[in-house]
Structure formats: structure tokens, C-alpha cells
Subunit: 178 residues, 2 copies
Amino acid sequence: LTPQENGKGLVQIFTGNGKGKTTAALGTVLRATGHSLKVFIVFFMKGDYAYGEYSALAKLPNVETASFGFRKFTDPSNIKPEEKEQAKAALETARKAVLSGNYNLVVLDEVNVALSYNLIELDDVIRLIKEKPSHVELILTGRYANSRLIDMADLVTEMVKVKHPFDKGIKARKGIEY
Amino acid sequence: LTPQENGKGLVQIFTGNGKGKTTAALGTVLRATGHSLKVFIVFFMKGDYAYGEYSALAKLPNVETASFGFRKFTDPSNIKPEEKEQAKAALETARKAVLSGNYNLVVLDEVNVALSYNLIELDDVIRLIKEKPSHVELILTGRYANSRLIDMADLVTEMVKVKHPFDKGIKARKGIEY
């Protein structure tokens, strides 16, 4: 399928405090590559952490990625200028990928968090959604999805934490959580 | 990492009426393969449908899959003997994979639905969880997760539908939903 043959692209949001938001986006990417769709993933908040997904994604055909942010988690009460710069560069990269029309699916991973920390402007994300070519599917992930984005989206899922091992003191495990 | 080097395996459940349960399991599989973990996926209810995930999964290293069920969705008010046979064969396949100890991660996709339709016995799933080697991570997906399984699980996420395009009459799209 060429990008244009796959029909209308929707806007999906995975939000909520539960596990599975980025993970579901990655699963969607995996499925899309099975149909030879073209994918671009922008990681807004991942930095240079050696997540398992990077090496796995690198092996998939038709998937390009770009990573921004810092390994150490952003402290929302003490945002640094370079964190804003990174987030803006991430959004600009996403914008180019979306408007190019060359991809069926563009994932903006953790863009909701970047927005909630005011690292980027809500209006810029709204404009990107409005200007996207109709065949492009967008996935926005991260907690704290903005209500205006939820209004604009076609498919919104809230991942709700029912039970999480971190609550019992179990740490993130290589290969499973990252 | 060998299966034994990755530490204690947990039991994860993705349930709820929202999108992203199987998809999050697939994302976890993708991430796991990035760390060279070994994965076995049993599809309980997928049948021979040419899901995009099959061809994508086939390209991933260290991932084996087995599919059961029928393409046409099971009608819970009219369960056919062959549907029970398929589900039982799926559980037996999962059991062998789990107990072999050869895999870091075993996914029982849609096992919750198979259970809720009484295609398989709850006690058999409980026994499988109890007998699993400690290093094996289990992921159980599907709506209607049984409360006893939720009690036994370490990590439970409910995918809650906030908004879904099927509600607006938009059909499942190749490459995105399947």
C-alpha cells in the first residue's frame, strides 16, 4: 500500500496513568510495517536511553525514528531552556514528517507530557493536526492529554492503572519496561 | 540476555473495552526482541485472519507464534465444539511454551475472552500461572479479565474507551487495526 492508498488517517490518543501507551503505539507500528506502511516515530521525552525499542525498531522495514529530550526525567517545576529547545525540535521534526505526506503513520510519543509541561505550545499541535494530509494517521501518546486534543481526536483510549508492580517496589526491568 | 538472566517474570494483564490490549502486547514483544529476549505468542481467538501483525512478527528474531480460533467471531450464545477444541489446543500450546522455560515472554492473546466464553477452564489458567518458571513473563490480554486472575497478576491495565471511530461508523482499516 502506498500512503495514499490506505484511506483516511485518523488521530489516535493513548493517555492515562496505566502501562501501555507507548507500548500500544509500538504495537501499532509493528502491525503497520506488516502491511508495508511507512512510519515515522518522534520520541519527545526519551533522550539517549538505550530502550529496547530502538534496536528493535531499527530492524523493522519502513520505520524511521528521531529522539529528543534527556535521559534524566524532566522536573516540571524546574524546566531548563534546553528541554524546551529539544521539545520544539521534536515537534518541528514531527511537523516535517507529517506534512511531507511520505508516511502513513506518524507517532508523537510523549507529546502529551511535553505539552502538559509547557515545553511546546498547544496551538502548534492543534495546527499540525489541522494541516495534516488526510491519509496520514497520527498517534499521540502520554499522560495528561489535553482536552482540546481529545476533542479533535477520532480514537482515544485511557490506560488506567489497576495494579502496578512499581507500587510494590519492583523496579523497571530491561527488555520488558524499557 | 538468556531467559534466566532477566530476573523474575511477572504476570501482566491488559483488559478493558478500549483499543490497545493486543497492540500493547505486541509492543512489549517488539521491545523484548530489541534485547534479544525469546518470545512465544499464542493467539487464542484470531484464526487465519491475515493480520498485519503476523507478517511483521515473522520478521522479528526470537519470536514464535501459534494461532487458534476462527476467523468469524465466536458467538457466545452459540459456542461450537470446534471452538472449544481450538481454545483448549491454544491453552495446551501456551502451557508447553511456558513450562519449557525456553522463553522470557509468553503472550496469551485474547485468553480472557476465551475464558469468559467458557471455552477453557479458569482453573487451568490459574494452574499455568502457578506452575510457570519464575523467569517467565506472562501477558494475558482481552476484555472481561477474570477477577481471580487480576488478583494473581502483578501488573493490570484497563484500556478504557474514551472515543472510538467505530462509533461513528468508520470501519477497521488494514494496517492500522489489523
